[in-house]
């Protein structure tokens, strides 16, 4: 009974929402109803999913932290005093103080910026490389594919951490910007292969579809077919891989910083703090747990968000 009423109510709402969508005025040229776009459909899908809202809120929270850390804490993360070493929570320092006597919470908040910047920019750069390589390899096939696929194999064979250590050791400058840039560059250059393979395989699938033949039948050229017909259809898996990669890049940045070759103090990053916290874990665990939890939640949020968006944007799942 109540189900029926809900359905009826939502139908009424739908009818009210579309003012020009009345039957009986079928062929009014120039006055079409607002089209139901793919984005619109995806949005209708997404807003019913709790996972989407939870991950979105977390992502927005972290992004806000990165943009305006002052909103979240009034303490200065570099205002450290050994007198407060491992002191209990007090005032704004809700998680207490670390070995150096810095506010653990404030440092975690300020650490978001470096981590997110590295994660997002590496993912973007990775995406650009992967789309280019995957598209060319998948679309043209033949020797282009053979060469690019072997390049992918070779890069994939390089151990990420080892190569990152070798490459980052060569960065002489200690300037924070240079180091952030170097970490982004290294992560993207070593990390684009998985995404490129995914793009390549989905391009191959899309290329074989009839709508590509139909576009060609209507006289579209290679560029147009790649850009307009294949890319949008091959993008969904790439977006998922990239959101997941964004999470793992943040983790990789933390790893590199943890190993002492990524970002360096005085830059504040979760990796550096996790490293510092680890050393004094036995005296106080919070300086280790707090940045680790921030890192884990951020990575998880991006991965969940990627997954939810993928589901919503894939017309084949409808």
């Amino acid at each position: 009974m109540s189900d029926f009423e809900t359905v009826a109510a939502s139908e009424n709402q739908a009818a009210r929402r579309g003012p020009s969508g009345e039957p009986g005025t079928p062929n009014q040229v120039g006055q079409p109803r607002k089209p139901r776009s793919l984005t619109g459909d995806a949005w209708r899908d997404l807003r019913r999913k709790p996972i989407f809202w939870i991950s979105l809120i977390l992502v927005l929270l972290v992004t806000a932290m990165a943009a305006v850390p002052g909103l979240f804490t009034s303490n200065n993360p570099t205002d450290c005093a050994l007198s407060r070493q491992h002191a209990a929570p007090s005032g704004g320092a809700i998680f207490g103080y670390d070995f150096q006597g810095c506010d653990t919470y404030a440092r975690a908040v300020y650490g978001a910026r470096a981590s997110l910047l590295v994660g997002a920019l590496s993912a973007l750069l990775t995406g650009a490389i992967a789309l280019l390589v995957g598209m060319l390899a998948g679309y043209f096939g033949g020797w282009v594919d053979a060469v690019l696929s072997r390049v992918i194999d070779v890069v994939l064979g390089i151990p990420l951490l080892l190569a990152a250590i070798v490459l980052l050791k060569r960065v002489g400058s200690d300037s924070a910007t240079v180091r952030v840039g170097a970490v982004i560059f290294v992560l993207a250059v070593l990390g684009w292969t998985t995404a490129a393979r995914v793009v390549r395989s989905s391009v191959i699938t899309a290329r074989e579809q009839d709508y590509v033949a139909a576009a060609r039948m209507l006289g579209a050229g290679d560029g147009r077919i790649m850009w307009r017909h294949i890319l949008p259809n091959a993008l969904a898996p790439a977006i998922v891989v990239l959101t997941i990669a964004l999470g793992s890049f943040i983790a990789a940045e933390a790893t590199l910083s943890f190993l002492g070759i990524g970002l360096q103090e005085p830059t504040i990053s979760w990796g550096i703090d996790i490293n510092n916290g680890r050393v004094h874990m036995r005296e106080s665990a919070t300086p280790l747990v707090v940045p680790s939890a921030f890192l884990a939640l951020t990575v998880l949020a991006f991965i969940m968000l990627g997954d939810a968006i993928r589901d919503a944007f894939d017309p084949k799942l409808r």
Binding site: N27, P32, R36, A213, A214, A215, G219, P232, P315
Partner: protein
């Protein structure tokens, strides 16, 4: 006529202005790792303005591959056009540079695919897809392309066209999707429309509607149409001429009425006999025994001989020419006349 019957002729007579579209002795092979499959072995047909040619044959007979070769959308490799010519208004499309070839596609010759759902891009609204060609090729503005898209959707009788412009392909029914596909193909007002099994993926009732629509559009827009199908029932009302394909060859070519009245090739005869009839109750349906040949190992002589009730030794040894039976009728059978005159079976 009996003297006529044994004289092999290369092609049917060409009118002074030339045919609108002519496929001449086309050979296509697929080069795969398992070997070379000879998919098209010397297909010739022609199409004049305003005409409907039906190309009939079972799966793998090469009817779609011929159409794709005409359209220039064969995947090469593995496909390889080894010889032949495809003349459009006297110009060989196969020797045309790709850039000029593209100008022909869609504008002069357009094609409708079998499965409209997969032939429409799932991520774009149908209005965008119909309009895309107009914007790209004719440089229309968005608004103009939109208006024209609505006109085209009206033309193919999609109800409430203006309202459905923004809908995605998955929101349409099968028949409506095929109409969208037809609207896309008609966007550039082509002179030749190739319909590759346009009704195969549809319900029987919808099939009839789509065939009627295609016939009406062909007449109203004065196009020529190549209708590719394996359904003899579909062809009878719509086509002017029929070309029956088997193992990459045209085995019989005739106008609809004479072909239905007296098929001159055993394969055509077998096809016509296997149509279920209302007056034939309880009995077993007639079939053509055997399977279509493996195109990597096409039988010697006449490729149909292993399945043919008329087969003699000569059919195993000698490849039959196209025998002209008058009225532009041809049949690639050593016993074409006997088959045609044999009304009994």
């Amino acid at each position: 006529m009996s003297q006529n019957a044994v004289r092999p002729t290369p092609a049917s007579p060409t009118p002074p202005g030339g045919h609108l579209l002519e496929v001449r002795d086309l050979h296509v092979e697929f080069r795969t790792s398992e070997g070379v499959a000879r998919v098209i072995n010397g297909v010739s047909y022609h199409l004049d303005p305003g005409e409907t040619l039906a190309v009939l044959g079972e799966s793998g007979s090469g009817k779609s591959v011929t159409a794709q070769a005409v359209m220039g959308i064969l995947d090469t490799p593995p496909a390889h056009i080894s010889s032949g010519a495809i003349l459009y208004s006297g110009q060989d499309l196969l020797t045309l540079p790709e850039a000029q070839r593209r100008q022909v596609r869609g504008k002069e010759i357009a094609m409708i695919f079998q499965d409209a759902l997969s032939a429409l891009n799932p991520v774009f609204p149908v209005g965008w897809q119909i309009g895309e060609t107009l914007r790209q090729r004719l440089g229309m503005s968005r608004a103009d392309a939109r208006r024209r898209s609505v006109e085209l959707m009206d033309l193919v009788q999609i109800p409430a066209a203006a309202k459905r412009l923004g809908d995605h392909p998955h929101q349409f029914s099968g028949g409506m999707r095929q109409r969208v596909m037809i609207a896309m193909a008609l966007a550039m007002e082509p002179k030749v429309l190739i319909a590759d099994e346009p009704t195969t993926a549809l319900d029987v009732t919808v099939q009839a509607q789509i065939m009627d629509l295609l016939a009406d559009l062909r007449r109203d827009l004065d196009m020529a149409m190549i209708l590719i199908t394996h359904d003899l029932g579909v062809v009878a009302d719509v086509a002017d001429r029929i070309a029956v394909m088997y193992a990459g060859r045209i085995v019989e070519h005739a106008d609809v009425r004479s072909l239905y009245r007296a098929p001159a090739h055993p394969y055509t005869k077998g096809l016509l006999n296997s149509i279920p009839r209302l007056d034939q109750r309880g009995g077993k349906l007639a079939t053509i025994r055997g399977l279509p040949p493996n195109l990597m190992r096409i039988p010697s002589g006449c490729p149909f001989h292993p399945r043919c009730p008329y087969a003699q030794q000569v059919c195993v040894d000698v490849v039959p020419h196209d025998l002209v039976l008058g009225d532009g009728r041809t049949s690639a059978c050593h016993f074409a006349q006997e088959v045609r005159d044999d009304r009994a079976s």
